[in-house]
Amino acid sequence: MGKMKRSLLGYLPEESPIFMLHPLTRLLFLLVVSAYPMLVEIPELNVIGILFMFAIFKYGKVDLGIIKNYKLAFINLFFVLAIAYTFFGGYRPEYRVLVELGPIKICWENLRWAMMVYIRLIFAILIIIFFLSTTRERDVVVGLRSLRVPFSLCYMTGLALRSIGLSLIDFNTIREAEKARALDLSALPFSEKVKKFGLYIVPLIALAIRRSDEVSNALDSRGFKLTGLKTEGRTDYVTSKYRFSTRDYVLIVLMIVFLVGIILVNWRYGLFNAENSLLFRV
């Protein structure tokens, strides 16, 4: 196996074509493409979106096993939507009743809406999983710097993302310590987990407060201040390591053209509204 690079969700092979893209392109992919499933209601198009996402997972050499971690979330979402729309979906006289369970009427129109929402959400969730699987903390910072976000905000973002990793390490250390004292949260029923979670959250926050002094001293020693760097004209090291290529420009233009196109066509003709779906002809 070749060398791997760590991402926010896992590891990605160094030879992944995703690394040929500038971090800003990846950040804009999240911001722009995530809007597609929110604007497009037609499930057929969202299914195409899902297939497209699987294709770029494959093309980007992203381990599809990462999606398996979300299996429970997908299943749960399915059940929640099914319950919410069948039992709490409402009823109108024009609805077609499929089954009647006492006072509850399960209608085709509600099930259809649940299916459409589910497909939209799967597309949207795959986009965020793809972003998290292909992006590192540093990429987010570089993306924001490229958007001319002030240095202190970018620095804070980087620090915040890094602190998630630190908190996870602390969380695991606390868990090991509790295990050594014969407390294994994973082996407990949910009600006990809730009761015992206090034993994790208190030391976790105590460690964070203690670490804040170290981080603060480190920030001061690196010349950080809220308004930016104390010395003007310092080289922005991380951004100097990345270059925009024609590929990036083409992709960004394509994503934005698609977004503007969707907005305009929807606003003018309502072409992507649910009523134009094949499901509405059933």
Binding site: A73, L121, I129, S152, I164, S212, D213, S216
Partner: protein, 201 residues
């Protein structure tokens, strides 16, 4: 004996926002994201709404201790924890005002009512329960379900389901863990240089 007012700035005391607050903001985001992800993965009700979300305790308590830095952390970390738990980006965006209010309301209550974060009297407990458990979560839930309904992700009829899921799922952890955190750590935090007597310092 007169109650000590932890919010009072003593004569000659200089309080300015500094790197310690930036560090606290970042670290609270980290802790909140870890605590939030734990909850989001435990009883997911969909769209990042969970039946049990310990992150809300970090929002309320962090805001009481660290002023607007805590509010900012509470505003931002659910965005990360929801994303890690599989909530779509724009759903996380829609929740931002809820997350802001869930931290801001207890902060305002503690500051204006001069409640002690160390929970030294019944008034402090009642104040926390009303503003850090009930009102903030009800308002947060009201905004969140309105946003979900406006985006077209839930029907009007399913609003009570999601509203109650959010309120209970946030209320119970903020009641249990919020009180534990305030009781256990406030005596240390009020003496720490990161503690905010004002809004930012």
């Amino acid at each position: 004996m007169e109650r000590e007012n932890v919010w009072e700035i003593k004569p000659g005391e200089v309080r300015k926002p500094g790197s310690i607050h930036v560090a606290i903001l970042a670290l609270l985001i980290g802790v909140g994201a870890v605590a939030g992800t734990f909850g989001s993965l435990s009883i997911p009700l969909g769209y990042g709404v969970t039946g049990f979300w310990p992150g809300v305790a970090v929002q309320a308590v962090g805001s009481i201790w660290f002023g607007l830095w805590g509010v900012a952390a509470g505003f931002l970390f659910p965005f990360i924890s929801n994303s890690l738990a599989g909530a779509p980006l724009y759903v996380s965006f829609a929740y931002l005002p809820s997350n802001l209010l869930q931290g801001l309301i207890p902060l305002l209550a503690f500051k204006y009512m001069k409640l002690d974060p160390r929970l030294t009297s019944a008034k402090d407990y009642i104040g926390y329960i009303i503003f850090g458990v009930i009102i903030n979560n009800i308002i947060g839930a009201a905004w969140a379900v309105t946003a979900l309904q406006a985006i077209g992700l839930i029907t009007v009829e399913s609003v009570p389901l999601f509203f109650s899921g959010w309120t209970i799922g946030n209320g119970i952890p903020s009641l249990i863990f919020g009180i534990i955190l305030l009781k256990a750590l406030s005596p240390l935090v009020v003496k720490h240089r990161a503690f905010c007597k004002g809004w930012l310092a």
